[in-house]
Symmetry: C2
Subunit: 143 residues, 2 copies
Amino acid sequence: MQLEPQYKELLDTALEGSGQRATKQREHVYALLLQKRDHPTADEIYARARSEMPTISLATVYNCLETLVETKLIRQVNFEREPTRYCPNLTQHAHFYCRESGEIVDIELSDQLIGELMKVLPKGFSAQHIDIAYDGKCNHCHD
Amino acid sequence: MQLEPQYKELLDTALEGSGQRATKQREHVYALLLQKRDHPTADEIYARARSEMPTISLATVYNCLETLVETKLIRQVNFEREPTRYCPNLTQHAHFYCRESGEIVDIELSDQLIGELMKVLPKGFSAQHIDIAYDGKCNHCHD
DNA sequence: AATAATATTTAGAATAATTCCAATTATTGC
DNA sequence: GCAATAATTGGAATTATTCTAAATATTATT
Ligand SMILES: [Mn+2]
Ligand SMILES: [Mn+2]
Ligand SMILES: [Zn+2]
Ligand SMILES: [Zn+2]
């Protein structure tokens, strides 16, 4: 499995911009996230990574993920106190967590809706970020 | 410090409804949460609880909080992977986390706004709960 | 190309919030 | 008051994540 050229480009410039090196571990972790966009945990990424790169360590997976988050190529996604998950979708979106299947789905959010959410803040408050997590039943799990 | 009668009533009926007993530890933890509504962590609650009840244990604080959450008298509030915080405000509200001061403020949400958020879900999805967390600068911390 | 400087990876130890456990203590119903 | 049940307690266990220090890889310099 390999990183498509446009993403390879993205990764290289992001890393260069932050004075970090492009390593095969970083490429591999990034490629895995882009390939199966199911919001895996570090452990899941570790398991997937090992099939093609058996010597990679869990610490490296954490390190790579940290680098990718810092350079804003991916974001962290948290539900309650569950293990952190990772998402390469950089658009403004919320997450829907299906209690039945455990599936996590991206919910795109319009600027308009974000605007409305900003409007309800009391005077003097300014938010740089809004985190929105739904939970319930997804389309596959309905009666 | 003590629990106001209306809340004592609330607690007793909630506990009775779930077949649990009203103990002084549960009352005390609940009273602390109602008194200073700053979304404390279990450790903070433990520290506060000990000044009036020096023999209470951290395990008991966790147990009491769990009971209060189960009986829906309080709710848990999580920011990223920080320690869980606890909130006795039962209205529909989001949380604003000030990066500068660490203050956590309740943001009331109208049914209308929640409705809009529900509307953006794809067909077949139904949410029982939406978790909304802002983060940025609060009114006290502005330049 | 060799060497030095720097960054990354690695395995395993450390950390920290929370949960579990088994013994003691408190509360309830008779 | 006594037996049955539930809650509290201190400490051990768990688990995701971070830290550490040694080994390896990459880049820059001669
Ligand atoms: Mn996502
Ligand atoms: Mn609150
Ligand atoms: Zn589902
Ligand atoms: Zn502030």
